[in-house]
Point group: none
Chain length 415, copies 2
């Protein structure tokens, strides 16, 4: 079944509202094996009809969001009825539901509300539990020009009305239309330390030869690898990916790097603290996002100034002066001090020049030292250079630090 989405609303095209509908609808449809083939945003008004004409010619299902409200710019109901050659009638049951909705809130509705109670007889009402405008579903209808319309769903624009209505009312209708249970599934693998083209080179034709659809999504410091195909085929792809990507593979279950690290620490009953200079708290912020993180992550010393590095972590003033605060010896000392002061199994430290000013001839802007202190192992220090802006240096340094710990936990499981 081919599915298209039409989002109506001038506020989306003016940038006033971020369009989250596409992502929500796609996330909801994928588990039942449906994909959205095209999405269009049009302003309130006659462009809705032209978009519907285009989409209907190509699609089995068209989902339309927005324009079901009571105001004069809410035209979706009228335009779709006209497109189908159907008359709107006032549905007393919808009107009673809307009046009850207002009565519960102690509001006297204006006469405009009657607009929302109109529908063509051929439409099925999709109840709105979180607002006044009901949704409508139209099965295929012979249009005045004798063409057959697609399955049409009219859905409300506000996400808190759309989401429950789609999940509870529209999705069961869509499932009933499917010829057979869904066969394809999707797997998302998270990777780090490799660019898109490097991953593609490592995988070669191996997955394409299995008939798997491969996609990439790159973010700062990480790339997601997305596979779509029959469930059994996808399972046979996992060993290929595992062997070719090696330690660059962060998660087979679409888990974030911080979630993988926290989960691994909790599973092995180990604890972590951090000492942060250039990441400025971002490392701790990411480590405290996973629910239950407090079982593994206990504290961070964000020592931004030299004085804080000296007073709080006890880094000798002489070392800060001789080696410089951005140096391997200071990163090492920070990690070891945090591990000692927090009494944790591991400690990560970051120190670097995030910019826009700073840096030395030996350690130019973007230089970051990352250190990991762990039990029974010498402290490891990595030097990175990130040629980018201040906020991106923070993000990449935090990513590199989390990944240093992740790889070390892989290599050195607790004894």
């Amino acid at each position: 079944m081919r599915v298209e989405v039409i989002n109506t609303g001038s506020e989306l095209l003016l940038g006033q509202v971020l369009n989250t509908h596409l992502k929500f609808l796609a996330d909801s449809l994928l588990p039942i094996g449906l994909r959205i083939d095209r999405q269009v945003t049009v302003p309130d008004g006659p462009a809705i009809t032209s978009a519907l004409h285009d989409a209907a010619a190509r699609s089995d299902v068209v989902l339309i969001t927005g324009g079901l409200g009571p105001t004069t710019d809410d035209l979706t109901r009228d335009l779709v009825a006209a497109y189908l050659g159907l008359d709107l009638i006032l549905d007393p049951l919808i009107l009673a539901t809307i009046e009850a909705y207002f009565a519960r809130r102690g509001i006297t509705p204006t006469s405009r509300i009657q607009r929302q109670a109109q529908r063509p007889l051929a439409a099925t009402v999709l109840q709105n539990d979180h607002g006044t405008a009901p949704g409508l579903y139209f099965p295929p209808i012979r249009r005045p020009d004798s063409s057959l319309s697609p399955h049409l769903f009219l859905l409300p624009g506000p996400p808190r009305e759309l989401h429950p209505m789609f999940t509870q009312r529209a999705l069961p209708i869509l499932i009933s239309l499917l010829p057979s249970p869904p066969t394809n599934t999707m797997l998302t693998y998270r990777t780090t330390g490799l660019g898109e083209s490097a991953i593609e080179a490592l995988l070669g034709e191996s997955l394409l030869n299995l008939g798997i659809e491969v996609g990439y999504c790159a973010r700062l410091g990480e790339v997601d690898l997305r596979l779509i195909g029959p469930t059994a085929t996808l399972q046979s792809a996992t060993p290929i990916i595992t062997s070719r990507l090696g330690s660059h593979l962060v998660s087979k279950e679409n888990l974030s790097l911080e979630m993988v690290v926290i989960n691994q620490l909790i599973a092995t009953r180990q604890t972590l603290s951090t000492a942060e200079s250039c990441t400025g708290g971002l490392l701790a912020h990411r480590l405290t996002n996973p629910p239950g993180a407090s079982a593994a992550f206990t504290q961070s010393f964000v020592t931004y100034s030299n004085q804080a590095k000296h007073h709080t972590l006890g880094i000798p003033t002489e070392l800060l002066e001789s080696a410089g605060p951005v140096s391997a010896p200071v990163a090492t000392a920070m990690a070891e001090a945090a591990r000692h002061l927090a009494s944790t199994d591991h400690a990560l430290a970051t120190t670097g020049f995030a910019g826009p000013t700073g840096g030395t001839p030996a350690h130019p802007l973007g230089t970051v030292f990352i250190a990991l202190a762990s039990p029974h192992l010498p402290t490891v220090v990595e030097r990175h250079t990130f040629h980018t802006d201040r906020e991106s240096v923070k993000i990449l340094a935090a990513q590199a630090a989390l990944d240093l710990l992740r790889r070390s936990l892989l290599l050195h499981p607790p004894t």
Copy 2:
């Protein structure tokens, strides 16, 4: 000029990535008087060509995002060249730029990278300062079927590459195409502590009566107020907004809350430290984003565990047990300890139940205490309850803490 946007990328239609392009492009075009008339999302592949055919027939300008990367699913460059009837040639200058980009990072590029260095001769290169794929601009070209193509911009998909390239390279070209210089400008005011409808109620008809177009953009814990109109009229609106919004007005120059706080501290030569429990480092992360933050912000004690609160900040174990770690007395003690240990003028502290588990009958999930210790003033504590998810509680708590300091700095300038 009629403008349409084509977003390419299967990841957008599969729901893996939220499409923020439309909002960004609309926000960027509005100040120069351009609006987006239609936006479409299509998967990687031949649908790009069909969407381009449709958009070109209706538009003067078509902006295409995505599909400029090095992998086999990156087809925009090839499909647009074919649509225009142009050949791709290898541009040695682009190749050298990409190779230099990799060399700076110590990476050996794969041969695939050559794809990104290809362009038709008729295209103008839009330099990419944050990635490898350059953008391309095509002025109107006589196509093989003798129709004239619209102004075409090929832009990268990753937001951190798209945003600077569009602002710095594409927007100047678009401005040069305008029949007359834009007369309207846009001002963005940042506010906090009020919802959209509350701001609208406070402003009443005052701005609309001046002929100013007013828009709102709500994010977690803040609302931007966007005014569009002739420059002189906008200036006359400033006193109205200042008087009606009072201390809810964070910035008249679209500065973030952390930037306003850091700037104010630097201007008055004051320093700040933080002691964070439920915000888990986010407060320090935000405070270290503004360039030059180190002149005011010196350190954060991210004391996530009770043990860390006791050992690092010296919070008495008896107090943690009697009052509970999420309490006004502990927030107060954390702020005062941070101020003392870090020797800063001010210290902010946060402690709360971010969820998804935790909470007590007296202090349910979402309860957050925020304290501010300052010179010559008793320590202030605020209690908030945020009925939302874990990550949103962190964001709202950090926002409330920064705002507590901002308002205090307004009320109590240093003597």
